[in-house]
């Protein structure tokens, strides 16, 4: 007789499945939390230490024993003993952010803990964000005005004056950037157009093309533009000159002194005086700057707005391309095509497309979209510019990148749509036909609305895959630094032929192509965090729509 406590067969396998889930989830959670913690703490202000090194030790900075530094990492020392430390015991070292790259020629320094004599956080150390050479850590000495007057740092009004000058400088910079980017940009665009047109006229009419009425008109217009240009340039130049007027002299930790125009700083703050509220406000401000500004200094400073915008526009265009394409294909496959070996092989081919390495799509996109389609468009519509050897659509751009990714993600949408169409019950289809609807009316009015949630699921998957893809984009239009956004105030406003920046490529560029990978590391985490955030936000948006549709067309009765 069998014992009554015998376990049902296969029960231990339940443990296996749950272990799989736990393993998978914990890896994902670990990855996300690493990205989140590192990406977010970049903007949190950290204390600046005045570090004094042991007189007897070998460590120094430019021969000096004191310096200002922000602790960025503590770790167990590599190669203990080599740098002269004790061979016994625990060997730990700090990584300090020292800033002042213009003086030290580096920004990060490792110092072993046993070499540190003392560390203090005096409140008068300032951190200055500069347009060049990254941050400076310093004690201010004086401000010197254009007329030679000086204001010493010990003056009670010094901090206020400094921030006032800083604000003025920032305002002027915004002003001349606007002039140079927008107004001069517009003039440049028009002059470029005229130049190309003149080139075409010369090509068509030979030497004396300048006597043509059209050429005369262009020349006249060009003169006007040149005058405007000179005016604007003068205005911007004056502003720029003014930026150099008030000078800040400061002393860094090692005792070196330096003098820079105040307007070369974008922000100056004293993190050691921050309370929690100040820190939070600072964090919010820096995060906003990161979100809304363009990158500076080989992408290592400033923000990543063009990359966010580029990714967003590309994903949107991709969705707009892949949706109709995939849905129409799936409707034909599922509803109209006669099911047989032909359709089966088409379906297998579509599914296999999903397994093709993405770089292959990049190569295809380059060959087909960029060279063939783009080249044809250029030959037909942009012949003038071709004379100047300037391709318009015949080079990588946001449109070709979107179409390449659309092609790559079309199998996802086709498969999801087919499933969704198949899940619409036969009963409602028959009911629709019995009401006198044609097959197309049935699909359009009954089947498609009912399968919309499933189709959107496909789109969500496609978006997640497309937004994170980098390899094919490198071939079809992504660049390290795009001078202009794909959307701006110059007609025709949406410039689909332009190259663009992309968060995924930005991560690669910062992490592996930047001159100082240590300095770029925080930015890599922050950018990764934002890429994930962008994908999540776009997905959430699609999920909200899907749930809304699901509620509307819920087919629970079947």
């Amino acid at each position: 007789m069998k014992s009554h406590n015998e376990k049902p067969a296969g029960e231990p396998l339940v443990w296996l499945t749950s272990m799989g889930l736990v393993l998978g989830i914990s890896m994902v959670v670990y990855l996300l939390s690493v990205i989140f913690c590192n990406g977010v703490t970049v903007f949190w202000p950290k204390a600046v230490h005045e570090v004094r090194l042991k007189e007897s030790g070998p460590e120094n900075i430019g021969g000096e024993k004191t310096f200002f530094g922000i602790v960025t990492m503590e770790r167990e020392k590599l190669s203990a003993g080599l740098s002269g430390g004790d061979a016994e015991g625990i060997h730990e070292e700090y990584q300090f952010f020292t800033g002042n790259k213009d003086i030290y020629s580096f920004m990060y320094k490792f110092v072993s803990k046993d070499q540190v004599e003392s560390m203090a956080t005096p409140g008068d150390i300032l951190v200055g964000e500069r347009l060049e050479y990254g941050n400076a850590l310093f004690r201010p000495l004086q401000i010197e005005y254009a007329d030679g007057k000086t204001l010493p740092a010990l003056d009670p009004g010094f901090t206020q004056t400094l921030h006032q000058l800083l604000d003025e400088g920032n305002k002027r910079r915004a002003e001349y950037t606007k002039i140079e980017k927008r107004d001069i940009g517009r003039i440049n665009a028009e002059m470029e157009k005229i130049r190309i047109r003149m080139l075409a006229l010369e090509n068509a009419h030979g030497e004396d093309y300048e006597s043509l009425p059209e050429a005369q008109r262009h020349i006249a217009r060009q003169e006007v533009l040149e005058k405007d240009y000179a005016d604007l340039e003068g205005k911007a130049g004056k502003l720029r000159e003014k930026q150099e007027e008030a000078l800040l002299t400061y002393q860094v930790g090692t005792g070196d002194e330096n003098t820079l125009p105040v307007a070369h700083f974008t922000d100056i703050y004293a993190p050691n005086q921050f309370g929690f509220g100040d820190k939070a406000a600072f964090f919010a401000r820096k995060f906003w700057v990161f979100l809304s500004e363009s990158p500076r200094e080989a992408n290592m400073e400033g923000g990543i707005f063009p990359a966010i915008f580029g990714t967003f526009v590309m994903t949107l265009l991709m969705s707009a391309a892949v949706m109709p394409f995939g849905v129409i294909a799936a409707i034909y496959l599922r509803e109209y095509a006669k099911q047989g070996w032909m359709v089966r092989s088409v379906r297998i081919a579509v599914n296999n497309l999903a397994g093709v390495p993405s770089i292959v799509f990049g190569v295809f996109g380059l060959g087909f979209f960029v060279y063939f389609v783009g080249g044809t468009i250029d030959n037909l519509f942009f012949t003038d510019r071709l004379l100047d050897n300037t391709p318009t659509f015949g080079t990588g751009g946001v449109l070709w990148a979107s179409l390449t990714l659309a092609l790559m993600t079309v199998p996802v949408v086709v498969v999801a749509t087919e499933e969704a169409l198949a899940s619409v019950p036969r009963g409602v289809r028959e009911a629709s036909l019995a009401c006198g609807a044609s097959k197309w009316q049935t699909i359009q009015r009954i089947v498609l609305p009912a399968s919309a949630p499933g189709i959107l699921t496909g789109l969500i998957l496609a978006m997640a895959r497309g937004a994170g893809e980098v390899a094919p984009l490198m071939l079809v239009g992504v660049v390290k630094l795009a001078p202009d956004l794909p959307l701006d105030s110059i007609a025709p406003f949406l410039h689909l032929e332009r190259k663009f920046m992309h968060l995924g490529f930005h991560i690669y560029d910062l992490g592996f192509q930047s001159p100082d990978s240590e300095a770029a590391k925080p930015m890599v985490f922050a950018t990764t965090f934002l890429l994930i955030l962008l994908v999540v936000v776009m997905n959430l948006f699609a999920i909200v729509i899907r749930n809304h549709l699901r509620k509307k067309y819920s087919s629970s009765v079947f």
Binding site: V428, E430, A431, G436, A437, A450, K552, S554, V557
Partner: protein, 283 residues
């Protein structure tokens, strides 16, 4: 079983149908009603398997005709051929003909869509569209391109009243049809089927998914509709057939075994098989 019987029109007119319909022929009168739907030597195949064998059947206008028989006897298949619903299935084939008011439903000149406008259908499982109650009812008008608001409103009210659903849903016409109860949904499906004023209403076991109370309501409804439509109903429920139908056709294994007035089929069947089936001895 070997004899496939046709109910000749003369025979049908010899007795008064049990309803008090004004079109009902006077007892004993010989000519009167001509058959409205005629099934002539009709055979039907799904791919290689024949499911209907050489059927001959005349159905009268504005009468309720019940098709009964055990599962798999072909009654649903025949019903779904009246509006050519089986055309959706691959590999079907037929012989013989079905005519409605003298016109063949297989006439190449006849648009299948216009056929379906004349022949409404109610399915076994209620299948409202995932739309509002209002849009469900007017669907057949919408697909016909009729979007006049006044006409649609009028149709909704008329159809829902005929389907005895108006009082229950008139305050929530624009909420989802999927929020109704099963019985209400089936009545909504009837309202949808009669919205475009078809001449014939096909019902494929309309009560099989409903509880007795909802079934009762649907039966009352059929009783109401009998004056306006030619109703053909497939049912497994003998009592239902006796309650609502004027004529009954008994099918077995794809053949028409007996066809006649409902009362006669259930009280004095001429064929032994019919008697066995209606008395519950097999099936």
């Amino acid at each position: 079983m070997t004899t496939t019987m046709q109910a000749p029109p003369e025979e049908l007119t010899t007795e008064v149908p049990k309803t008090g319909s004004t079109q009902a022929p006077v007892p004993g009168e010989k000519k009167a009603v001509s058959p409205y739907i005629q099934v002539k030597d009709y055979s039907f195949w799904y791919a290689e398997s024949q499911v209907l064998f050489d059927l001959n059947l005349d159905i009268l206008e504005k009468k309720v005709t019940a098709l009964i028989g055990p599962s798999g006897c072909g009654k649903s298949t025949l019903l779904r051929n009246f509006n050519r619903m089986n055309d959706l299935v691959d590999g079907i084939r037929h012989q013989g003909d079905i005519t409605i008011a003298g016109n063949s439903i297989y006439d190449p000149a006849l648009e299948i869509i216009s056929l379906r406008k004349r022949v409404g259908m109610v399915f076994q499982k209620y299948n409202p569209f995932p739309k509002t109650i209002y849009e469900n009812v007017v669907f057949s008008l919408r697909v016909a391109g009729r979007n006049n608001k006044a006409e649609l409103d009028e149709t909704v009210e008329r159809s829902l009243k005929k389907a005895a659903l108006w009082d229950e849903v008139k305050d929530r016409l624009h909420s989802s049809a999927l929020g109704l109860s099963g019985g209400q949904m089936q009545r909504l499906c009837i309202a949808r089927a009669i919205a475009n004023q078809p001449e014939i209403l096909l019902m494929d076991e309309p009560c099989s998914a409903l509880d007795p109370i909802a079934t009762g309501k649907i039966e009352d409804l059929i009783d109401e509709l009998r004056d306006q439509f030619t109703i053909i109903i497939v049912t497994h429920n003998m009592q239902q057939a006796t309650r609502i139908s004027d004529f009954t056709a008994f099918f077995y294994l794809g053949k028409l075994i007996e066809y006649g007035k409902t009362q006669q089929i259930f009280t004095t069947p001429k064929v032994k098989q019919t008697e066995d089936y209606v008395t519950g001895r097999f099936g």
